[in-house]
């Protein structure tokens, strides 16, 4: 709980940063692991901020910004996973998943590759844009 409170407090500082700065710091942090890995980075930075706050004040501002961005990312990620678990954790969702696994393992259905699906989505998007969709005034 203390850890969550600490993350929330430092995450609030991220709202003072520009979106460009936040994206740049997110890139530096390489927050592309799983949620537990990302949380480990955020908590580690939070502890580092606490550790250097008094000893190395000149380093503290940069470290606080990094920690703030990591904490904000992790909290948003936790909310997203919570919603994903809510959507996919029901008995009905589990039954759908089981049905899909059985379908894949049957060897009796046509299988599409991830690459092929992404290509189709890109084509959909291109057609949508060409038809004037997605234009903002």
């Amino acid at each position: 709980m203390l850890q969550a409170k600490g993350l929330e407090e430092i995450a609030a500082l991220a709202s003072a940063l520009s979106p460009e700065k936040r994206r740049e710091l997110e890139r530096q942090l390489s927050l592309d692991g799983n949620p537990r890995f990302n949380e480990g980075i955020a908590v580690g930075l939070l502890r580092a901020v606490e550790a250097v706050a008094e000893q190395l004040p000149e380093l503290n501002q940069s470290l606080r910004e990094l920690a703030a961005v990591a904490a904000a990312y992790v909290l948003a990620e936790q909310r997203a996973y919570e919603e994903a678990r809510r959507l996919t954790g029901t008995a009905q969702a589990r039954a759908e998943i089981e049905e899909e696994i059985a379908r894949l393992e049957s060897g009796q259905v046509k299988i599409y590759s991830g690459e092929q699906i992404l290509r189709e989505l890109e084509e959909m998007e291109k057609e949508f844009k060409e038809s004037g969709g997605g234009q903002t005034s």
Binding site: D32, A84, L87, E100, I101, S113
Partner: protein
């Protein structure tokens, strides 16, 4: 060696429906971009991407993973070096909007 990513016609159609809805919403291309990021990471190491939710009776792990507004469930077949996409959802904008990686 990269993992192969497989999906049935049912999942492919579901993805297309969600993409169409995303394009008409404020999310625009974010749904496709989230799916592309997830697929790229799954191809590398699917066991290190999301959260494991359970194992099938045959022992294959089933995960949930999120990127941007895109949430997927997938099953990993380690011996076959394959991943099966078994459910796809689109999250509400406020929850997914900060997750750009």
């Amino acid at each position: 060696m990269a993992f192969r990513i497989d999906a049935s016609e049912v999942i492919r159609e579901r993805i297309r429906q969600l993409q169409a809805a995303a394009l008409l919403s404020v999310q625009g291309s974010q749904f496709r971009e989230g799916l592309a990021r997830l697929f790229a990471r799954l191809a590398g190491d699917p066991l290190a991407v999301g959260e494991m939710t359970y194992r099938t009776p045959m022992g294959h792990p089933v995960f949930v993973a999120v990127s941007g507004p895109t949430a997927i469930n997938y099953v990993v077949y380690e011996v076959e070096q394959a991943v099966g996409i078994v459910k796809v959802e689109r999250l509400n904008p406020p929850n997914g909007s900060h997750l750009s990686n």
